[in-house]
Protein backbone atom coordinates (compact mmCIF):
# COMPACT_ATOMS: atom_id res chain seq x y z
CA UNK A 1 0.00 0.00 0.00
CA UNK A 2 1.48 3.33 -1.03
CA UNK A 3 1.38 6.04 1.61
CA UNK A 4 -0.90 9.02 0.89
CA UNK A 5 1.07 11.85 -0.64
CA UNK A 6 0.56 15.47 0.23
CA UNK A 7 -0.63 18.02 -2.30
CA UNK A 8 2.80 19.62 -2.16
CA UNK A 9 4.51 16.40 -3.16
CA UNK A 10 2.00 15.87 -5.96
CA UNK A 11 2.58 19.41 -7.24
CA UNK A 12 6.33 18.89 -7.07
CA UNK A 13 5.98 15.70 -9.13
CA UNK A 14 3.84 17.55 -11.66
CA UNK A 15 6.48 20.26 -11.94
CA UNK A 16 9.19 17.63 -12.54
CA UNK A 17 7.01 15.98 -15.20
CA UNK A 18 6.32 19.36 -16.83
CA UNK A 19 10.03 20.16 -16.93
CA UNK A 20 10.79 16.76 -18.47
CA UNK A 21 8.05 17.32 -21.05
CA UNK A 22 9.39 20.81 -21.81
CA UNK A 23 12.91 19.47 -22.33
CA UNK A 24 11.66 16.66 -24.59
CA UNK A 25 9.43 19.04 -26.53
CA UNK A 26 12.34 21.46 -26.92
CA UNK A 27 14.58 18.72 -28.30
CA UNK A 28 11.84 17.55 -30.68
CA UNK A 29 11.07 21.16 -31.62
CA UNK A 30 14.74 21.80 -32.33
CA UNK A 31 14.80 18.95 -34.84
CA UNK A 32 11.42 19.89 -36.31
CA UNK A 33 12.41 23.54 -36.85
CA UNK A 34 15.75 22.45 -38.34
CA UNK A 35 13.84 20.24 -40.78
CA UNK A 36 11.42 23.08 -41.58
CA UNK A 37 14.39 25.39 -42.18
CA UNK A 38 15.97 22.75 -44.42
CA UNK A 39 12.70 22.45 -46.32
CA UNK A 40 12.66 26.21 -46.80
CA UNK A 41 15.97 26.12 -48.67
CA UNK A 42 15.32 25.76 -52.40
CA UNK A 43 18.52 23.77 -52.93
CA UNK A 44 17.67 21.29 -50.19
CA UNK A 45 14.01 20.66 -50.93
CA UNK A 46 13.40 17.01 -51.73
CA UNK A 47 10.65 16.05 -54.22
CA UNK A 48 8.43 14.85 -51.37
CA UNK A 49 8.96 18.02 -49.38
CA UNK A 50 8.35 20.27 -52.35
CA UNK A 51 5.22 18.31 -53.11
CA UNK A 52 3.77 18.89 -49.67
CA UNK A 53 4.86 22.54 -49.60
CA UNK A 54 4.25 23.42 -53.19
CA UNK A 55 2.60 26.69 -52.26
CA UNK A 56 5.47 27.94 -50.14
CA UNK A 57 8.32 27.13 -52.49
CA UNK A 58 8.20 30.51 -54.21
CA UNK A 59 8.26 32.31 -50.88
CA UNK A 60 11.22 30.21 -49.78
CA UNK A 61 13.20 31.10 -52.86
CA UNK A 62 12.43 34.77 -52.39
CA UNK A 63 13.43 34.48 -48.76
CA UNK A 64 16.75 32.91 -49.56
CA UNK A 65 17.50 35.44 -52.26
CA UNK A 66 16.74 38.12 -49.71
CA UNK A 67 18.82 36.81 -46.86
CA UNK A 68 21.64 34.70 -48.16
CA UNK A 69 22.90 36.60 -51.18
CA UNK A 70 26.28 38.06 -50.24
CA UNK A 71 25.71 40.99 -52.60
CA UNK A 72 22.65 42.12 -50.73
CA UNK A 73 24.46 41.73 -47.41
CA UNK A 74 27.27 43.98 -48.60
CA UNK A 75 24.78 46.53 -49.88
CA UNK A 76 22.87 46.66 -46.65
CA UNK A 77 26.00 47.49 -44.67
CA UNK A 78 26.85 50.27 -47.10
CA UNK A 79 29.34 49.65 -49.88
CA UNK A 80 29.79 52.95 -51.65
CA UNK A 81 33.50 52.44 -52.48
CA UNK A 82 32.75 49.56 -54.86
CA UNK A 83 30.10 51.67 -56.62
CA UNK A 84 32.55 54.55 -57.05
CA UNK A 85 35.18 52.21 -58.42
CA UNK A 86 32.83 50.91 -61.07
CA UNK A 87 31.83 54.45 -62.09
CA UNK A 88 35.40 55.71 -62.41
Amino acid sequence: VTPPTSRTQAARRRAVAAKRTAATAAAAGFLAIALLARGSDPGQASPAASGSNAGSSVTSQEQDDFSLDPGSLTQSSGSTPSAKTSVS
Binding site: A23, L36, S60
Partner: protein, 190 residues
Protein backbone atom coordinates in the same frame (compact mmCIF):
# COMPACT_ATOMS: atom_id res chain seq x y z
CA UNK B 1 32.30 19.02 -44.82
CA UNK B 2 29.21 20.32 -46.65
CA UNK B 3 26.88 18.26 -44.47
CA UNK B 4 28.61 19.48 -41.29
CA UNK B 5 28.48 23.07 -42.49
CA UNK B 6 24.78 22.75 -43.30
CA UNK B 7 24.12 21.14 -39.92
CA UNK B 8 25.60 24.09 -38.06
CA UNK B 9 23.61 26.51 -40.22
CA UNK B 10 20.34 24.69 -39.50
CA UNK B 11 21.27 24.35 -35.81
CA UNK B 12 21.86 28.12 -35.65
CA UNK B 13 18.47 28.87 -37.19
CA UNK B 14 16.60 26.27 -35.18
CA UNK B 15 18.37 27.13 -31.93
CA UNK B 16 17.50 30.80 -32.28
CA UNK B 17 13.86 30.18 -33.05
CA UNK B 18 13.53 27.70 -30.20
CA UNK B 19 15.24 30.05 -27.74
CA UNK B 20 12.66 32.71 -28.64
CA UNK B 21 9.79 30.23 -28.17
CA UNK B 22 11.16 29.15 -24.79
CA UNK B 23 11.53 32.77 -23.65
CA UNK B 24 7.91 33.27 -24.74
CA UNK B 25 6.82 30.19 -22.77
CA UNK B 26 8.71 31.41 -19.71
CA UNK B 27 7.06 34.84 -20.01
CA UNK B 28 3.65 33.19 -20.35
CA UNK B 29 4.17 31.14 -17.16
CA UNK B 30 5.46 34.27 -15.39
CA UNK B 31 2.36 36.21 -16.42
CA UNK B 32 0.14 33.37 -15.22
CA UNK B 33 1.83 33.54 -11.82
CA UNK B 34 1.71 37.31 -11.47
CA UNK B 35 -1.86 37.40 -12.75
CA UNK B 36 -2.87 35.39 -9.69
CA UNK B 37 -4.31 32.65 -11.83
CA UNK B 38 -6.04 30.12 -9.60
CA UNK B 39 -4.71 26.79 -10.77
CA UNK B 40 -5.67 24.23 -8.12
CA UNK B 41 -3.18 21.61 -9.20
CA UNK B 42 -0.40 24.15 -9.78
CA UNK B 43 0.68 26.01 -6.63
CA UNK B 44 2.96 28.99 -7.06
CA UNK B 45 6.20 27.17 -6.18
CA UNK B 46 5.55 24.55 -8.89
CA UNK B 47 4.82 27.21 -11.53
CA UNK B 48 7.91 29.12 -10.43
CA UNK B 49 10.00 25.96 -10.82
CA UNK B 50 8.75 25.45 -14.39
CA UNK B 51 9.14 29.20 -15.15
CA UNK B 52 12.78 29.10 -14.02
CA UNK B 53 13.48 25.90 -15.94
CA UNK B 54 12.07 27.36 -19.17
CA UNK B 55 14.38 30.36 -18.77
CA UNK B 56 17.41 28.09 -18.28
CA UNK B 57 16.38 26.01 -21.31
CA UNK B 58 16.06 29.22 -23.35
CA UNK B 59 19.58 30.16 -22.25
CA UNK B 60 20.86 26.75 -23.35
CA UNK B 61 19.38 27.19 -26.82
CA UNK B 62 20.81 30.72 -27.05
CA UNK B 63 24.22 29.10 -26.46
CA UNK B 64 23.40 26.56 -29.22
CA UNK B 65 22.35 29.45 -31.51
CA UNK B 66 25.52 31.46 -30.87
CA UNK B 67 27.80 28.43 -30.86
CA UNK B 68 26.45 27.18 -34.17
CA UNK B 69 26.87 30.65 -35.71
CA UNK B 70 30.45 30.66 -34.46
CA UNK B 71 31.18 27.27 -36.03
CA UNK B 72 29.26 27.88 -39.23
CA UNK B 73 31.24 29.09 -42.21
CA UNK B 74 28.36 30.50 -44.25
CA UNK B 75 28.06 33.68 -42.20
CA UNK B 76 31.44 33.92 -40.47
CA UNK B 77 30.99 35.40 -36.99
CA UNK B 78 33.80 35.92 -34.51
CA UNK B 79 33.24 35.62 -30.75
CA UNK B 80 33.67 39.39 -30.47
CA UNK B 81 30.99 40.01 -33.09
CA UNK B 82 28.62 37.73 -31.20
CA UNK B 83 29.26 39.54 -27.91
CA UNK B 84 29.56 43.20 -28.96
CA UNK B 85 26.31 44.66 -30.34
CA UNK B 86 26.56 46.33 -33.73
CA UNK B 87 29.77 44.67 -34.90
CA UNK B 88 28.21 41.77 -36.83
CA UNK B 89 28.95 41.51 -40.54
CA UNK B 90 25.34 40.56 -41.28
CA UNK B 91 22.48 43.02 -40.60
CA UNK B 92 24.34 44.68 -37.68
CA UNK B 93 21.32 46.36 -36.12
CA UNK B 94 19.07 43.30 -36.29
CA UNK B 95 21.81 41.08 -34.86
CA UNK B 96 22.58 43.69 -32.19
CA UNK B 97 19.01 43.36 -30.90
CA UNK B 98 19.58 39.64 -30.38
CA UNK B 99 22.95 40.20 -28.70
CA UNK B 100 21.45 42.77 -26.32
CA UNK B 101 18.51 40.43 -25.57
CA UNK B 102 20.83 37.52 -24.78
CA UNK B 103 23.10 39.62 -22.59
CA UNK B 104 20.16 41.16 -20.78
CA UNK B 105 18.77 37.67 -20.15
CA UNK B 106 22.13 36.61 -18.72
CA UNK B 107 22.18 39.68 -16.47
CA UNK B 108 18.65 38.91 -15.27
CA UNK B 109 19.70 35.33 -14.54
CA UNK B 110 22.44 36.74 -12.28
CA UNK B 111 19.88 38.89 -10.43
CA UNK B 112 17.82 35.71 -9.92
CA UNK B 113 20.81 34.08 -8.23
CA UNK B 114 20.95 36.97 -5.75
CA UNK B 115 17.19 37.30 -5.43
CA UNK B 116 17.13 36.70 -1.67
CA UNK B 117 19.79 39.34 -1.06
CA UNK B 118 18.03 42.00 -3.13
CA UNK B 119 15.03 44.01 -1.91
CA UNK B 120 11.95 42.33 -3.37
CA UNK B 121 10.57 45.46 -5.07
CA UNK B 122 13.95 46.07 -6.76
CA UNK B 123 14.23 42.48 -7.97
CA UNK B 124 10.65 42.61 -9.21
CA UNK B 125 11.23 45.81 -11.21
CA UNK B 126 14.43 44.44 -12.70
CA UNK B 127 12.62 41.18 -13.49
CA UNK B 128 10.16 43.20 -15.64
CA UNK B 129 13.05 43.66 -18.08
CA UNK B 130 12.27 40.12 -19.23
CA UNK B 131 9.53 41.72 -21.32
CA UNK B 132 12.23 43.76 -23.04
CA UNK B 133 14.23 40.55 -23.61
CA UNK B 134 11.17 38.93 -25.16
CA UNK B 135 10.37 41.95 -27.36
CA UNK B 136 14.00 42.31 -28.51
CA UNK B 137 14.12 38.58 -29.32
CA UNK B 138 10.90 38.86 -31.32
CA UNK B 139 12.16 41.83 -33.38
CA UNK B 140 15.58 40.14 -33.77
CA UNK B 141 13.92 36.97 -35.08
CA UNK B 142 11.72 38.89 -37.50
CA UNK B 143 14.49 41.14 -38.84
CA UNK B 144 17.56 38.91 -38.72
CA UNK B 145 16.02 35.46 -39.09
CA UNK B 146 16.44 33.99 -42.55
CA UNK B 147 13.23 31.99 -42.02
CA UNK B 148 11.22 34.94 -40.70
CA UNK B 149 9.06 35.33 -43.79
CA UNK B 150 8.17 31.66 -44.19
CA UNK B 151 4.60 30.69 -43.31
CA UNK B 152 5.55 28.36 -40.46
CA UNK B 153 7.85 30.93 -38.84
CA UNK B 154 5.25 33.70 -39.13
CA UNK B 155 2.67 31.41 -37.52
CA UNK B 156 5.03 30.66 -34.62
CA UNK B 157 5.88 34.35 -34.13
CA UNK B 158 2.26 35.48 -34.43
CA UNK B 159 0.92 32.75 -32.11
CA UNK B 160 3.47 33.37 -29.38
CA UNK B 161 3.17 37.17 -29.65
CA UNK B 162 -0.63 36.98 -29.45
CA UNK B 163 -0.47 34.79 -26.34
CA UNK B 164 2.00 37.07 -24.54
CA UNK B 165 0.06 40.23 -25.48
CA UNK B 166 -3.28 38.72 -24.42
CA UNK B 167 -1.90 37.70 -21.02
CA UNK B 168 -0.16 41.05 -20.61
CA UNK B 169 -3.39 42.95 -21.31
CA UNK B 170 -5.20 40.69 -18.83
CA UNK B 171 -2.48 41.32 -16.24
CA UNK B 172 -2.56 45.10 -16.71
CA UNK B 173 -6.38 45.13 -16.54
CA UNK B 174 -6.15 43.27 -13.21
CA UNK B 175 -3.87 45.99 -11.87
CA UNK B 176 -6.21 48.71 -13.09
CA UNK B 177 -9.16 46.88 -11.55
CA UNK B 178 -7.39 46.68 -8.20
CA UNK B 179 -6.40 50.35 -8.36
CA UNK B 180 -9.96 51.40 -9.21
CA UNK B 181 -11.38 49.34 -6.31
CA UNK B 182 -8.88 50.87 -3.87
CA UNK B 183 -9.75 54.38 -5.07
CA UNK B 184 -13.49 53.70 -4.72
CA UNK B 185 -13.01 52.41 -1.15
CA UNK B 186 -10.90 55.43 -0.23
CA UNK B 187 -13.64 57.75 -1.53
CA UNK B 188 -16.28 55.87 0.47
CA UNK B 189 -14.27 56.38 3.66
CA UNK B 190 -13.76 60.09 3.09
Amino acid sequence: VTIAASATWYAARSGGMLAYLLVSASVVVGLLMSGRAKLKRWPRFALEDVHRFLGILAGAFIVVHGGALLLDGFLPFTLGQLLVPGTAPYRPLAVALGVVAAELLAALAVTNLFRKRLPHHLWRRVHMLNFAVWALALVHGLTAGTDALTTWALLLYAGSAWLVFALLVHRVSLDWGTAATTLRKEKQWQ
